[in-house]
Subunit: 967 residues, 2 copies
C-alpha cells in the first residue's frame, strides 16, 4: 500500500437547489400567465397577496401579518374562491417540482454524478461483507428469506381529484423530460406548450369533488398503479438486484423468489363505511383478477415473438408435440375459434417445430378463457367465481401457469440459451411470483361489534340466551365448544336485521372466491380473544375454505395494553394453536390510540405491546407477524420509511415486513417508474438491515424514563382534551371539524354517532388540527413530560436516548417535523376570528404549551432551531427545512381564507339571510357558484353559502397539500 | 448590412462514419461470441471465410477469389447451412447499424448539430419566400391543397420472418438507446445483455418460413405499423408543421386538413393469388375498422381525463345537458351496462357540470358498440358489415365522431382555452381526418381476363353469344347500352365455374362493406376500354353503391402505348364522363413493361404515357390522378423518394401523390417513430416542391434522342432475351429461377402457366438476376443505346440531359446504383458452376455488355468510378458507395454458397441417390435438417436435399438483404 495525494470531482454545490428554484419559478410563470390571460385583475391581487405572504414568512412581524389579513379580508366572495384556488394550484405545482427535483437527484445518484443525499450514506451489499464480517452467503440467504408486503389502502383524505392528478402527472413528466433529454428548439417549444396545456387544463377544472367516489372507483385507480407502473418496475428491480449479486460473485435470486407482495384494502375495508358490501368486495376481486389476466395476456403474446426457436429439451418437446397433436386433430375448429378471438397474431395452429409457441399459444387460449369467465362473473353477481373458473378450466391455481413457463426456462438453459431464458421469460416468472393471478391479496376489515351482533342474533334465535350479554368466559367456552365440534350452528331461514344479514352475506360470498385473491380478515377495535374466535367460527359456518387468517387490530390504548393478555388466552388454547399452525398475525394501529392518550403514550404503548406480543408468541413457539398501519400525513405516524423500520423493536421485523401504504403516499411512492424503483429499493435495503444488523435493544433506565414520559404526557394530554370542559367548545369553534363531515373526502363518515371528543374518529380529529396549524394531537403533553424529566436532571439521559435509540430518535424527529410546520400565529388568528372571547385564555394556554414543547424538544435533540440540518453531505439537495420554507408563502393565505370562510358560514347560519346581502348578477360568477350538480334546483343554496363552501373546500385541500411531505 | 469575419462549428469529420463502424464491430463481436459459444469450430471457419472474403473485396484479385471458393467448397452440407445462416445474420445486423446510423444523423440534424446529408440541401419553407418570390400565403395554400396517399402492399419478397424482424427491431432500439441516452454502468450492462439476448434469440430461430403466410397475416402485420407507429407520428408531424408555419407568421393547418391518407392492398389484391377470396377481403376490412375503433377508444378515454373543465359554449352546454338528461332518465341501466363493460373509469353517469366528459363518455359507449358489432361481423361471415353497423347505431359515418369533437374544440376556443383545445383534442381530430373509421382504404385488384370470363358466362347463358369472342367494338356497344339502361343483367341461379363464382361473390360482398373502407378497384393487365366498363357494369349489377372508382393498370409496353387511346375512348363517351364526375385515376406499373422491353424503354414509355394521359384528360376537362406502383428493391423502380418524385413529368403530380409502399420498404420507412417522422417529412417536402417549383419541361431534341435510346435499347434487349434461342436455357441454368417457385416468399405463385421467358412474372425474373449479381433486366440494352448515340456525337447532349433533366438523371442514377451492386466475377462463377460449357460464350457476351454499359454510363454521368460522390458536404456521412463496400464481404460468400447449393441440388436430381452419399448420424444435425413440419414422415427428403434446400433458401434471403438499400 502506498501514498499519493489524490483528487476527486462531484456535481457542483447547490446545483439541485437552484434546479428546484428554476422549476418552481418556471411553473409559477406559466401559471401566472394563464391566470393573467383569464382573470387579469385577479392575477394582480394574487401577486400582491403572494408578495405580502412572502414578506411575512421572511420577517415574521405582526405588521406584515396584519397587512396580509387586511388585504385578504377585502376580497369579494367569488374572488376568495379564485384566490384560494390559485394558491392551491401553485402549491400543487410547487410540490411536483420537489418530486421532479428528487427524481433528478435519483438519476444523478444512479449515474454516479453525486452521492445519495438521504441521511446516512448507503453502501452497497459489497461493503457489508467487508466491514461487518458477514459472508456474502449470509447476506444472500437473508435476502432470499425476506419479503416486503405493501398493502394499499383507500385515500381517506385523497385531496386531489383523479383528473387533476393526471394533469399534474403530465406536468411532472414533461418537466422531467425538459431536464433529462436533449431536444431541438421545436421539441422544446412543444414541451413547454404541453406543460402549459396541462396547467391550463388543471386550472380550468373544478377541483372540488362533487360526488363521493365509490369503492370500485378507488379500486380502479389503485389498479392503474399496478398496470402502468408497478407491474413493469418489479422485474426491472429484481434484475438490478441480480446484476449487483453477480458482481459480488453470488448467484441470481432463485427463480421463484419474490422480494415483494402486494395487498389492498380497497373494497375490502368495511369498517365504518356501509357502502362496502359483499357484492363490492366480490367486484373488486374479479376486477383485480381481470387486470392480472390482461397483463399476462400481453406478456404471453410478446413472448410468442421472442421464443421462436426450434431447439428444446426432450420434456419440452414432448409437451409441445402433445399440444400440437391435440390441436391438429381439430385444426379447423381451433383456427375458427382463434379467428373469433381476433388475436393480433398466430391464428393458425402452430407446428411443433416451434415448441415454445405451441405451449405459449395454448396458454394464451386459457388466459382468454379465464378473461371470459371473469367477465361473466362481473355480469352475473351471484356466480361463484371459484366455481366458474374451475368448470371452465380457466386459470385458478398459479402453478398451472408457472409449470410450463418453468419448463421453458429449463429447456432454454439446457440448450445453452441462457441469455434468452433470462430476459422476458424470467421477468414473467417473477411477475407471476409477485402478483399471482390475483394481482394482490384483498384484506377484509370489519369491526368486532358486528360479529358480536351476529352471534347474538344466532344464540337468541336458538334460545341459548343473548351472546351480547354473556361475559368473556362464557363466550370463550361456547365458541371453543362449537369450534371443536362438528355440528352446524347457523340455522337456515333465520330472520336477520339488515346489519346482520350483510355480515352473513359477506362470509358466504367469501367462500366462493379464489383464496389467492384474499389476504387477511382484520378485526378492527378488537378487544378480547372471543372477538377472534367468533370470526373463526363464522368463517367455518359459511364454508370459507381455506379460511382467512384472522388478524386482530388493537386500536385503543386499553386494547393495546390488553393485547398480550388477549393473545395469551388465544395461544394457550391447544385447538387454536393447531388451527393457526405456527404463525399468527396482529395489526397495531396508530391513530386511535394517539387520539385518547396523546402521541408519545401511544407510540410507547405500541412499542411495548409489540415486544410483549413477540414474547407471548415466542413462548408458544409461534412466529408472530406484525402488520403496521402507517398513516399518510405525518400526523398518523408516517415519516421517512426506513427510519420507521429501524425504530421498531428488534426482532419484530426479521425479514418479513407487512405495512400499509396510505393516502396520497401511493401517488408519491408509485406514481412514476423512477420513483417506484426507488421505493422498492428503500424498502429492500431497510428490511435487509433490520434483519442483519438490528438496532441494539434499549437500556433499562431508558425504558423506565420512557414509561414515565408516556404517563406524564398522557395525563397532561387527557387533562387538556378530556378534563378541560371548554376544550371541546374551543375545538369545535376554532377548527373546521364540524364542516369536515360534508367534505367528500374518502368513502366513510367521519364520526360514530354524536357528542364529545371521544366520539370523533381519529382521522378527522387530527386533520382538523392540522388544518389550523396547531397540530395539537401530535405534541400535546410531550412538552411537560420532557420538562419534568429535565427538571430532575434526566437531560443527559434524554439526549443519549435521542442519539442512540432509533425508536426515540424517530419519535422525536416526527414531532420536530410537525412542530416545524405548526404556526402559532396562524392558529391564534383562527381563534381571533372564530372563537368567542371567553375561550381565549385556553387558546393562549395551548400556544404556550406548544412553545414549551418546542423549547424542550430542542434541548433534547441538541439543536438551536427546528430541523437544523447538521450534516454537510446535504450540501446540495434542498433539505426539509428548506422545503417547508419554500412552501409556507403559499399556505399562509389559504389559512387566512379558511378562517374567514368559516366565520362567514357560521355567521350566515346564525343570522339566516339577514347577515349578508350578496347577490351577484354576473353570469360568469353565477356559473362559478353553481358547479355542484347536487345543489341545483331546490337543493340550491344562497350564493354566499356556496361561495364560502367552495372556498372552504379548496383551502382544506390546499392546506393538506401544503402539509404533506414529499419524498 | 456590414462585414465581419465569422466563425461556426460542425460535428467533427467522420464521426458518423466511425459511428457506423463501431456499431458494426460491436454487433459482429456479439454475434461471434454467440456463434463461438454454440459452434466453436464453425465460428473459426466463418472467421476465415470473412477474412478471405474481405481480402478479395479489397484486392479484387483472382487468386483471392479462388482461395475463397475453395475454402467454401470444402464445407460439409450442414456446415454450409450454418455458414450461410451466419453471413445472413451478420448482414442483417450490419443493415440495422446503417439504419441506426441514419437515425443518429436524423437526430443530429434535428438538434442542429449538423446539416442534413441528403444530396441537395433542404431549406425550410422560409427560404422559398425569399428566393423564389412566392408569398408565404401561396406556399400555405399549396400546402393546404396537397395530400400524399401511401398505399401499403404485401411483401412479395419480404425476406425476414416477422419474429426475426421483431428481434432486430429490439437490437435496433437498444443500440439507439446506447447512443442517445446517458446511462449508469448497470443500465449499460443490461442494455448490452438485452442486445445479446435478442441476437441470440434471432440466431437460434429458424429463419426459413416453413409455411405460406395468409393474407390476414400480412394484413395483421401491416396493421401493427399503424397502431404502434403511424397513428401517433401523424399528429406529431402535423404539429411540427404548425409550429413551423407559426414561426413564419402563418396560421395552423386547417382543422380538417390531412396531409396524408393511407391505403392498402393487403387482402384486396387478388391478382394471381387465389387465396384472396371475397371472405378474406371482408375480414381485412373488418379487422382494419376494429383496429381503428380500438385506437379511438383509447384516445377518447384519455381525453375524458383531460377535458374535465366545467366552462363551455352554449351549444356545448345544450348538447351535454341533453345527453346527461337522457342518461339520468335511466341511470341504473346505464351504470349497470357500463359495469358490464368494465371501463377503466367513469362508470357512473357523469353530471352535466362536466360537459366534455358527458359527451365523450357517450362517444365511448358508441365506440364500444361499434366494436361489438364488428366482432359479430368477424364471427358471422355473411352479416353485411354496413347493415350491421347501421342498425346497431354504431359509428359508420366519420362525421358522427367529428361533429361533437369539433363542437368541443370550438367550445374550448370560445372560452379562451386554446392551449387545451390544441393539444390532445387537436391530435384526435387530425387522426380522424387521416385514418377515418377504416384506418385505411382497401384497394381491390383483379386481372381483366377474370371479368371477361364473367361477362362471357353471362352472355352465353343469356344466349347473346360469347362475350369473350366479340371484338372490342361489339363489347363497347353492349356494355354502354347496358350501362345506360336500367334492366338487370345478371340472371339469378345462373350456374358458374368456380372462378366466375368467386368474382361474382367478391362484387356482391363489396356491396355490403362501408364505402370508406374501400379505395379503388384496380384492373391489372388492363388493355381496352371495355375492360374498364365491364367492371363498372359488374359493380352496378351487384349493387355496389357508391361504386368504387375503376382504375386501369397498364402493365405491358403495348398496353402503355395504347393507354392514351384507351382513355380517349372512355373519356369521349358522355355517359362515362358524367359517371366519373370530373376525376379519373390510372395506374402505371413498372415491372412488367421492364420485363419485355428493358428498363430504359419501359421508363420512357411510362414517361410519355403519363404525359399523353394527362393531355387526354385535360382535353376532356378531367383531372387525372396517376397512381404510381413503386417497387421495393431497385430493380422494380425504387430508389430515393424525392428523386423519384422530381423525375415525374411536370403536371402529373400537382399536389396529389398516390404511391405504393412495397416490400420491406414498409419496415424501413415506418418501422420506428423517428424514421416514420422523416418519411412523412420527405414526402411532404417533395410533393410541395413538385407543385410550386416544377422541374422544367424537357427540350425537343432530348425527347427525340430519348426515343431513339428507348428503341435501340429495346431492340437490343429483346434480341438478347427473346431472340437468342439459348438465352432461356442460360437463364434457367445460371439462376435459381426454377427453384424460386418453391420459396414461400409472398402469397402468390411465380409464373402464369409454363414455357419461355414471356410466361415468367416480372418479379421472379428480376429477382433471379439480382440473386446472381448480374442484374441483367436493369441495364441490358442501355449500353448499346448510349454507345450508338455517343458514336454519332450526342455525348454532350447526353451529358446535358443527365445534368438538367431530372427524369434522365434519376433513370441513370438508378442504373448506376445497380451496376455498383453488380459483380461480373460472381456472375461468371455461377456460370462456371452451373451452366454447360456450350452456353459459356453467351455468358461471356453478357458480361461484356455489362462492362460496356458501365463504361458508357460513366461517360454520360461524367464520373470515372461508379457512385463517385462528388460533393464535399457528404464529408461525414457514409455515402452509398461506402455502404455497398461495407456489405460486400458479407454477400460474396452467400453467392458462392448459393451457386454450390444449386449445383448440388441439380446433380442430385439428375443422378438420384447415386451422386452423393450423405447420411449424418449426429442427432443435432438430423434435427437441423428436419425443421420443416411439412416434410416429416413420407414427405421427408434425402438429408442432402433438405440441407441444400435450406442453404439455398437462406442464401436467397441473405443476398436479398445485401442488395437492398436502406435509407
Amino acid at each position: 500500500m502506498s501514498f499519493r495525494i489524490s483528487t476527486e470531482l462531484r456535481a457542483g454545490p447547490g446545483q439541485f437547489l437552484t434546479g428546484l428554484r428554476d422549476d418552481d419559478s418556471l411553473l409559477r410563470q406559466v401559471f401566472f400567465s394563464i391566470l393573467r390571460h383569464h382573470h387579469p385583475n385577479l392575477a394582480a391581487k394574487v401577486d400582491v397577496i403572494y408578495a405580502l405572504s412572502q414578506a411575512w414568512c421572511t420577517s415574521q412581524s405582526d405588521s406584515d401579518f396584519e397587512l396580509l389579513v387586511k388585504y385578504v379580508s377585502d376580497l369579494k366572495p367569488e374572488e376568495r374562491i379564485l384566490v384560494a384556488s390559485s394558491f392551491s394550484h401553485m402549491l400543487n405545482l410547487h410540490n411536483l417540482t420537489e418530486e421532479v427535483n428528487s427524481s433528478q437527484i435519483g438519476r444523478a445518484v444512479r449515474l454516479g454524478e453525486m452521492d445519495s443525499p438521504t441521511r446516512d450514506t448507503n453502501h452497497s451489499l459489497l461493503k457489508l461483507t467487508a466491514v461487518n464480517g458477514l459472508t456474502p452467503q449470509q447476506v444472500y440467504d437473508s435476502l432470499c428469506n425476506q419479503t416486503v408486503e405493501l398493502v394499499l389502502t383507500a385515500h381517506p383524505t385523497q385531496a386531489l381529484r383523479a383528473s387533476l392528478l393526471k394533469k399534474y402527472a403530465i406536468v411532472r413528466r414533461e418537466l422531467d423530460t425538459l431536464h433529462s433529454k436533449r431536444m431541438s428548439e421545436y421539441e422544446k417549444i412543444e414541451t413547454l406548450e404541453a406543460i402549459r396545456a396541462a396547467v391550463q387544463a388543471a386550472w380550468r377544472t373544478d377541483e372540488i369533488r362533487r360526488s363521493k367516489p365509490t369503492p370500485q372507483d378507488e379500486m380502479r385507480s389503485g389498479l392503474s398503479y399496478f398496470s402502468t407502473v408497478i407491474f413493469d418496475v418489479v422485474p426491472v428491480f429484481h434484475r438490478r438486484v441480480d446484476t449487483a449479486l453477480e458482481k459480488m460473485g453470488l448467484p441470481r435470486l432463485p427463480l421463484d423468489k419474490a422480494l415483494f407482495k402486494f395487498g389492498s384494502w380497497m373494497g375490502g375495508d368495511r369498517d365504518g363505511n356501509p357502502n362496502v358490501t359483499a357484492e363490492t368486495t366480490r367486484d373488486v376481486v374479479v376486477l383485480a383478477r381481470l387486470e392480472a389476466v390482461n397483463t399476462y395476456f400481453r406478456q404471453v403474446e410478446s413472448l410468442m415473438f421472442d421464443l421462436s426457436m426450434w431447439r428444446c429439451s426432450p420434456e419440452m418437446k414432448e409437451l409441445a408435440e402433445r399440444i400440437a397433436a391435440a390441436e391438429s386433430r381439430e385444426a379447423a375448429r381451433v383456427a375458427e375459434e382463434r379467428k373469433k378471438r381476433n388475436y393480433a397474431d398466430f391464428w393458425a395452429p402452430i407446428p411443433a417445430t416451434e415448441p415454445f409457441r405451441v405451449v405459449l399459444s395454448h396458454m394464451r387460449d386459457r388466459l382468454y378463457n379465464t378473461r371470459q369467465v371473469l367477465h361473466q362473473c362481473l355480469v352475473h353477481p351471484n356466480m361463484s367465481v371459484r366455481g366458474a373458473l374451475e368448470e371452465a378450466g380457466a386459470y385458478l391455481d398459479i402453478e398451472d401457469m408457472a409449470r410450463p413457463l418453468k419448463l421453458m426456462y429449463d429447456s432454454l438453459m439446457s440448450t445453452g440459451d441462457a441469455s434468452v431464458a433470462n430476459s422476458r421469460l424470467l421477468d414473467l416468472l417473477r411477475q407471476l411470483r409477485t402478483f399471482g393471478l390475483s394481482m394482490m391479496g384483498l384484506d377484509i376489515r370489519q369491526e368486532s361489534s358486528r360479529h358480536t351482533e351476529v352471534m347474538d342474533a344466532i344464540t337468541t334465535y336458538l334460545g341459548l340466551g343473548s351472546y351480547a350479554s354473556w361475559d368473556e368466559q362464557t363466550r370463550l367456552k361456547f365458541l371453543l365448544d362449537e369450534l371443536q365440534g362438528k355440528r352446524p350452528l347457523m340455522p337456515p331461514g333465520m330472520d336477520m336485521s339488515p346489519d346482520v344479514k350483510e355480515v352473513v352475506a359477506t362470509f358466504r360470498m367469501l367462500s366462493g372466491l379464489p383464496s389467492d385473491s384474499l389476504g387477511a380478515y382484520i378485526i378492527s377495535m378488537a378487544k378480547t380473544a372471543s372477538d377472534v374466535l367468533a370470526v373463526v367460527l363464522l368463517q367455518r359456518e359459511s364454508g370459507v375454505r381455506p379460511a382467512l387468517r384472522v388478524v386482530p387490530l388493537f386500536e385503543t390504548l386499553e386494547d393495546l395494553n390488553n393485547a398480550p393478555g388477549t393473545m395469551t388466552t388465544l395461544l394457550s388454547n391447544d385447538w387454536y394453536r393447531a388451527h393457526i399452525n405456527g404463525m399468527h398475525e396482529c395489526m397495531i394501529g396508530y391513530s386511535d390510540s394517539g387520539k385518547d392518550a396523546g402521541r408519545l403514550a401511544a407510540a410507547w404503548a405500541l412499542y411495548e405491546t409489540q415486544e410483549k406480543l413477540v414474547a407471548v408468541a415466542a413462548e408458544y413457539g409461534i412466529r408472530l407477524v406484525l402488520f403496521h398501519g402507517r398513516g399518510g400525513t405525518v400526523g398518523r405516524g408516517g415519516g421517512p420509511t426506513h427510519m420507521a423500520i429501524r425504530s421498531q423493536p428488534s426482532g419484530t421485523i426479521n425479514g418479513h415486513l407487512r405495512v400499509t401504504v396510505q393516502g396520497e403516499i401511493i401517488e408519491q411512492q408509485f406514481g412514476e417508474k423512477e420513483v417506484c424503483f426507488r421505493t422498492l429499493d428503500l424498502y429492500t435495503s431497510a428490511v435487509l438491515e433490520a434483519a442483519l444488523d438490528p438496532p441494539p435493544a434499549p437500556r433499562q433506565e431508558w425504558r423506565d424514563l420512557m414509561t414515565r414520559l408516556a404517563t406524564d404526557s398522557c395525563d397532561m394530554y387527557r387533562s387538556v382534551v378530556y378534563r378541560t370542559p371548554e376544550f371541546y367548545e374551543y375545538f369545535m369553534q376554532s377548527t373546521a371539524a364540524s364542516e369536515l363531515g360534508r367534505l367528500n373526502i374518502g368513502s366513510r363518515p367521519s364520526s360514530r354517532k354524536q357528542g364529545g371528543i371521544e366520539t370523533l374518529r381519529a382521522i378527522p380529529w387530527i386533520f382538523a388540527w392540522t388544518q389550523q396549524r396547531l397540530h395539537l394531537p401530535v405534541w400535546l403533553g410531550i412538552g411537560e413530560a420532557l420538562e419534568g424529566a429535565i427538571a430532575q436532571g434526566y437531560q443527559p439521559v434524554l439526549q443519549d436516548m435521542y442519539a442512540n435509540w432509533p425508536f426515540f430518535t424517530s419519535t422525536l424527529d416526527l414531532v420536530e417535523m410537525v412542530l416545524a410546520k405548526a404556526d402559532a400565529r396562524l392558529s391564534a388568528f383562527y381563534e381571533r376570528t372564530l372563537v368567542e372571547g371567553s375561550l381565549a385564555p385556553l387558546g393562549e394556554k395551548l400556544r404556550r404549551l406548544l412553545a414549551k414543547t418546542q423549547q424542550h424538544i430542542l434541548i433534547v435533540v441538541r439543536k438551536n432551531a427546528l430541523l437544523e440540518g447538521n450534516t454537510p453531505s446535504q450540501m446540495s439537495t434542498p433539505n426539509l427545512d428548506e422545503k417547508i420554507r419554500l412552501r409556507s408563502p403559499y399556505v399562509a393565505p389559504l389559512n387566512v381564507l379558511q378562517a374567514l370562510s368559516l366565520k362567514g358560514l357560521r355567521k350566515f347560519r346564525e343570522l339566516g339571510h339577514g347577515g349578508v346581502e350578496y347577490n351577484p348578477s354576473d353570469p360568469e360568477i353565477i356559473d362559478l357558484l353553481s358547479r355542484d350538480p347536487h345543489k341545483k334546483g331546490e337543493g340550491a343554496q344562497h350564493p354566499f353559502v356556496s361561495a364560502m363552501d367552495d372556498c372552504l373546500m379548496i383551502t382544506i385541500k390546499g392546506i393538506a397539500a401544503g402539509m404533506q411531505n414529499t419524498g
